[in-house]
Structure formats: structure tokens, C-alpha cells
Symmetry: C2
Subunit: 308 residues, 2 copies
């Protein structure tokens, strides 16, 4: 089959939505878009690869859907409305292209997000590089460097459950229920927009692990962060299946649930309790401290590191 035909069939036809801000879509040298004058452009680029971001034997359509959702989570963390994506797919064969196309379409179904372009290359290992773009009111992006001493720390979503589900898969559990938390991640796009509208200024998505990502906020904002582990959604669910230490390990270091971690001053509490769970606070100093029932926890691993 010819490259152009293959790309067209596997990707374009399955995701036909055109965003109203698009002047020229998929099929020219580039796509062209007109942004509303009151909006900033927000862009992020993420790469996911078989054997690194999902097991080689994991269903490829689910993996591709997950890769797109993971990329969209970065827009959620900024408080942006997601509008477009561009996918560069390295595919082992035509069947892989077909499955990746189906996964991308699954991620975009029922969302007003356009597949505006991309590229396809023949490779031994399947991978998907996803660039996502969206918009938000000028100057209103939530950032990592805007936490203040005294802020509450909140989590919208849960932690550790995706890592546990991936462990289940790796141990041979093929039940839909067992692996759902890894397979079906949801970028918190609506919640991100609501948080921004409420007045939240500091947010990050938890992709590297709760401690690692809280550490990024602490470093960028020059604050310390304390997290009360027993308050983190997911902890008691993990404790039902695992020892306390195993549960702590997954909760604090297992990334990829794509929850939103954010900070906000106390006076926003009443607006936030319906959206998220308060799990800690920002302190003077630096670094992240995790406690369980008031006692310090010492962790060694801090998030997933491809090169360690």
C-alpha cells in the first residue's frame, strides 16, 4: 500500500472533526489556524514508545489512545481548552498504523479536538509523538512557579492506581477491571479550565509521580511542599491489595495517573472541595516531605526516569 493512502486511511478518515478556528487542515504542508484575539496559544509535545510507556504486548489501540490522553493532560494542567493535535507515528506495519489510528480516534471521540496533521514512518518499534495545542485567555495559564508559602496543595484525580494496574498486566492479569486504571486515563481538561476560572494559578499534571511532580512545583516556586499520604485519593484502595510500603511506593513514585496537582490560597477552599482533594500545604524551605498520620516517610525512588 502506498504511504499516502495508508496515512489517509489509518489516521485522517477516523478523526474528521475540523476545529472552527482552522483555516487549512491536514493535507497541505502545514495546517493554518486563526486564534481569537483574546487568547494565548498553549503547546506541548510528548513522545510515547512501546516497551517504555506501554508493554510490548499491550493492545496498540489502547496504547495510542493513552498516549494522546497523556499529551492532552499537559493542556489540562495549564487550564487550556484543547483544540488541535499533530501525530508523528512510527509504525511497524500497516496493521499497527490501523490500530494507532483507531486509538487516536478513540481519544478524540466526543471531544472537539482536531487531528490537524502529522507524519508516519516505518520503524521496528511502534511509537507516537503527539503535539497538542489549545488556547486560554491571555496571561491566564496555570504555571509551576506560582505556588506560595501557606497555599493548600490539592489533587484532582488519584495517584498510584495506574502504576498498580500496569503491575497487574505485567504479572499476567488480563481482566478488564484489573488494568482499567492504566488503560483508561482521562485528561482533566474540564477540571483544568474550571480551576483556572476559579482563580488557581499553580498547577502541574502528575506524570512522573506524585513526589517528583510536587518536587517540580516546589523547585520552580521556591517553596517546600508537605503531603499527607493518607489524604491522597488512591492510598486506601492500594492498601486493600498491597502492603503499606508497596502502596506508598506506587502512590508516591508511580506516575501516569495524570491527576492534576495544584496549589491555592485558603480563601479558595470552598470553591475547590467539589473538584479536588486537599492533600497538603506549601511551607517555607524547599523539597517535598511526605507524612503518614503525621510521621515522616523516607522514599528513595522519585518518579520514573528513562535513563537511570
Amino acid at each position: 500500500m502506498h504511504e499516502f493512502e495508508l496515512i489517509r486511511q489509518a489516521f485522517r478518515r477516523k478523526a474528521p472533526f475540523i476545529h472552527p478556528s482552522t483555516r487549512l487542515s491536514n493535507g497541505d504542508d502545514a495546517s493554518v489556524h486563526t486564534l481569537p484575539a483574546a487568547c494565548d496559544l498553549v503547546v506541548s509535545s510528548d513522545m510515547s514508545m512501546a516497551g517504555v510507556h506501554w508493554p510490548h504486548d499491550f493492545p496498540l489501540a489502547d496504547a495510542a489512545c493513552r498516549a494522546v490522553n497523556a499529551a492532552l493532560s499537559d493542556l489540562a494542567a495549564m487550564g487550556a481548552e484543547a483544540c488541535w493535535l499533530w501525530c508523528c507515528a512510527a509504525v511497524a506495519d500497516a496493521q499497527s498504523a490501523e490500530q494507532m489510528g483507531a486509538g487516536i480516534a478513540m481519544a478524540l471521540a466526543d471531544r472537539d479536538i482536531e487531528l490537524a496533521g502529522g507524519d508516519t514512518v516505518h520503524a521496528e518499534i511502534n511509537s507516537l509523538s503527539v503535539t497538542v495545542a489549545g488556547m486560554l485567555p491571555k496571561g491566564k495559564a496555570m504555571r509551576r512557579d506560582a505556588a506560595c508559602v501557606g497555599d493548600d496543595v490539592w489533587l484532582c484525580g488519584h495517584a498510584g492506581l495506574a502504576a498498580y494496574a500496569l503491575q497487574q498486566w505485567q504479572q499476567g492479569n488480563r481482566s478488564q477491571e484489573g488494568i482499567r486504571a492504566f488503560r483508561e486515563i482521562t485528561p482533566q481538561l474540564d477540571a483544568g479550565i474550571q480551576l483556572r476560572e476559579i482563580g488557581v494559578c499553580c498547577c502541574i499534571d502528575v506524570s512522573d509521580g506524585l513526589l517528583a511532580d510536587a518536587g517540580h512545583v516546589a523547585a520552580a516556586s521556591v517553596v517546600g511542599i508537605e503531603i499527607a499520604v493518607e489524604k491522597v485519593p488512591g492510598f486506601f484502595a492500594l492498601c486493600a491489595f498491597l502492603s503499606r510500603n508497596e502502596a506508598l511506593e506506587l502512590l508516591l513514585s508511580g506516575g501516569e495517573d495524570y491527576a492534576l496537582l495544584f496549589t491555592a490560597s485558603e480563601n479558595l477552599r470552598e470553591h475547590l472541595t467539589a473538584l479536588a482533594t486537599r492533600i497538603g500545604r506549601c511551607t517555607p524551605g524547599s523539597g517535598v516531605k511526605a507524612t503518614l498520620d503525621g510521621k515522616n516517610i523516607n522514599m528513595i525512588r522519585r518518579g520514573y526516569d528513562h535513563f537511570s
Copy 2:
């Protein structure tokens, strides 16, 4: 070495330029940009891989530089000013990351283009997915579907020389002069902007091969295209080293010189002769016809197809 440190060292530090339209750059979940109200956003995403887009033994920094320039060529074809790029690098080891970072920096040197974000993954085969974005006055993008019957067909740049240089490398020629046309491609960004300002509406960059890309214009614009091969810059240079048939093959089917192919009505001729070479015309009908001294040429291969 830790992933974050590796990425920071290899990529960010080497390309420190921040575009004046950027509010928040590399280092947060996403980058944030404010476009001038009179401008459209133009975006393209391209993937380049060792063993597909460059030989495995080709210097990696040169290959990465080439990959960025190839992606920027898509913005040139639209007539856009290039502003930002996001790079997803799959790297075999820290040395590869270092070399790719150097190559990206080489491509951006002396250009006002920002490395605004990206991702790095450990992989067996080096590859680089590059998303580029730029801007141009609203509604003024040059497109593939705007050629008219009677238009002249022009080429800004040359054809076939990059394919010949690649052949030289594959045959063991390691001289700088022999491989320069493959290694050092130049995206025609300034020329693209000039063409748009002169009033050119229809343009494509020649990445798949002269016949294949002229075919894209012909199909999108619903015209035929005739190309007089003896007028194409590069033909006589190739004939100095190769048989006539070999020269024709590389000229018409060897892509990756990243010239701009465009069409324009006769009344623009006097403005265009300093920028480009007139190589043919748009006719009623469909498809692309190549002639040499008035005689038809029959070609079988039509550009590079990863899956054929």
C-alpha cells in the same frame, strides 16, 4: 545521569533564544505564546529516523540539523515566519542526545526560532519528531490547491542534488564536498515570505521528489502540470556525473532538496525571475508530464515511499 538533567544539558542550554511572542517557555507542562492579532498560526509536524531519513552511519548532529531544516521547510512553503519548534527525540544513549542537541542548535543558530519544548525517550534507533510553528498575515498562506490553468510553474532551489549526494555517501564517498547537498539543506524561509508578499498563492516544498510533489499540487488544484526537465536547476550538474537516465531519475524522483515549487500567473514573472527558475506550466487536465527538449519522459518511480 537523570533524565531531566540530560534533557536540559543536551537541548535547552544550546538553544537559549526566546521568541518575543512567548510568555512561558520550555520547562512548564506546555509553552504559552501570544500571537499578534493580525496573524494566523501555521503548524507542521515531521518525523525523521536513522536508517530511513539518514544512513545509520551518518553524523548524528548533521542528521538532526537536517531534520529540523526539513521541518522548517514546510513553514517556508506556506510563506510563514518560523517562530518555535518542539522536538521529541528518541535517543540511543547520552552521547546521541548530546549530538542531537548540537544538531538542533546548529539549525537554529542565527535564526530567531525558539526551542519551546519537547520530550526525550530512550530507544534503540535514534529519531527526531519536530513540530514547527510560525505565523503569517491572516488568510495569506500559500497552499497546494491554488494553482490555475495557465500559471507558470517555478522552482526556488534545485532538484536531485541531495539524492546524488546521499548516493555518494552510500558508495563510501566521505568528502565534505561530495555530501554537502544532502547534509546542508536550507529551508527557503526568506524566499517563502518574499513569494507570499509578491502575491504567489500556490506553493509546496519538494520533499518527496519533483514529480510526486508537483503531482500533489496538480491533484489538489485540479490542473495538469508540465515540467521541462532541461530547465530544472540541478539537471546539468547531475548530467556531468551521471548518464542521462540516472540524472533524470534523481532529478525527478529524488526528494529532499527542499526546494520550493510554486505556480504564478504570467504577470508576476518580472518579480519572480530573481528568486526562482521557471520550469513549466499548468495545463488543463490532470497529472504531471515531464519533457526533455520537448519530448515526453516516462518515469516509473514517483518519489520516496516508506511503505512501498
